[in-house]
């Protein structure tokens, strides 16, 4: 198994993000659907890289995962942020997700003076296991939040104090 490196995300990582979102089954874990919804969401996501609040994991210089802090625009809520994470399907279960979460926590705390980080995931997302291992605790579970092909799924909000 090759070691991965981390660097700040670049706008030029956008094609990788789009590619990973299109991998089989991945879209189920995100609120958007194929097409314009996904394109707009991916553009917004990668757009945060200009604030140096996003990390890209690479192997041999090739991006294999991205984790991003979605910094809050208002002062009274600027002490916490939402984050998003994705790992290339071909490189899962190699510790890349864990590494991105750990380093995002560091970046959030030490560079952006964040006091807590939170994330929204849908039920049964395999990422939940990593989040629990990294100290994230569930504080909201909302049933029937997602409706996909006539089936309902819950959203779960988790947070960790930094």
């Amino acid at each position: 198994m090759k070691e991965h490196d981390l660097r700040y995300t670049l706008m030029t990582d956008a094609p990788y993000l789009n590619e990973w979102l299109l991998q089989e089954g991945v879209m189920h874990w995100f609120p958007f659907s194929l097409g314009k919804e996904m394109e707009d969401a991916a553009a917004c996501w990668i757009g945060f890289s200009k604030y140096s609040c996003s990390l890209t994991a690479t192997i041999d210089g090739i991006p294999v995962g991205i984790g991003t802090l979605f910094l809050m625009p208002y002062r009274k809520v600027a002490h916490h942020c939402l984050f998003k994470l994705i790992v290339d399907k071909k490189h899962r279960n190699q510790g890349i997700g864990t590494s991105l979460v750990k380093n995002l926590k560091n970046l959030a705390k030490n560079y952006f003076r964040q006091e807590l980080m939170h994330i929204e995931v849908f039920e049964d997302n395999p990422l939940i296991k990593i989040l629990h291992a990294q100290g994230f605790k569930e504080f909201v579970r909302q049933e029937r939040y997602v409706k996909e092909n006539g089936k309902y799924y819950a959203r779960i909000l988790l947070e960790a104090f930094l």
Binding site: P31, F32, S33, E37, D40, P73, Y74, R75, K76, V77, A78, H79, H80, E115, L116, H118, F139, V140, R141, Q142, R144, Y145, V146, K147, E148, L157, E159, F161
Partner: protein, 161 residues
């Protein structure tokens, strides 16, 4: 005295801004200063073009607004977060109750919303209105707001339609 609701007009941002700046109203919203208020008003009023926002009138005078923050994604279009504000001078007159009732009707009939939810900060007296109107708490984020060094929790409430 008559109390009615109608669709919000895109030109009514100034009313929303005025109500947000009354007394301690801003304590119950995430915005801090005028720049942030202007940004939030722009987003809120933006829903008026979809006829997803209602203005209440007391004897023909605007006195409150409620809004469906329609979801931009198809998988979540069956549920919706709502926002509401009532002019300080018209609180305690049933304006909030009427706005919620008519907004729920609009959500169900026009937008086929199945689940309405809202976020309210701890200590906001409006929580009583929400409870009376059938909204049930399902979670709380304890340190959501940090205002002058003090943390205020955000309560999540919802109501199936």
């Amino acid at each position: 005295m008559t109390l009615t609701t109608r669709f919000t007009q895109e030109t009514e941002g100034h009313l929303l801004k005025q109500w947000l700046q009354q007394g301690d109203t801003l304590r119950w919203f995430p915005m801090f200063d005028e720049r942030e208020i202007d940004d939030a008003v722009r987003i809120w009023i933006g829903y008026a073009k979809y006829q997803a926002s209602l203005t209440a009138e007391y004897d023909g005078v605007p006195c409150g607004m409620a809004n469906l923050n329609l979801q931009p994604y198809q998988k979540m279009a069956h549920q919706c977060l709502l926002s509401i504000i009532v002019d300080e001078e018209h609180r305690g007159k049933g304006v909030g109750t009427l706005l919620l009732r008519d907004l729920e009707k609009l959500a169900k009939e026009k937008f086929r919303i199945e689940l309405l939810h809202l976020e309210v900060y701890k200590g906001n007296p409006a929580v009583n209105l929400y409870r009376r109107s059938g909204y049930v708490e399902f979670g709380c984020q304890t340190r959501f707001i940090k205002d002058k060094g003090e943390y205020i929790g955000k309560i999540f409430m919802q109501k199936p339609l």
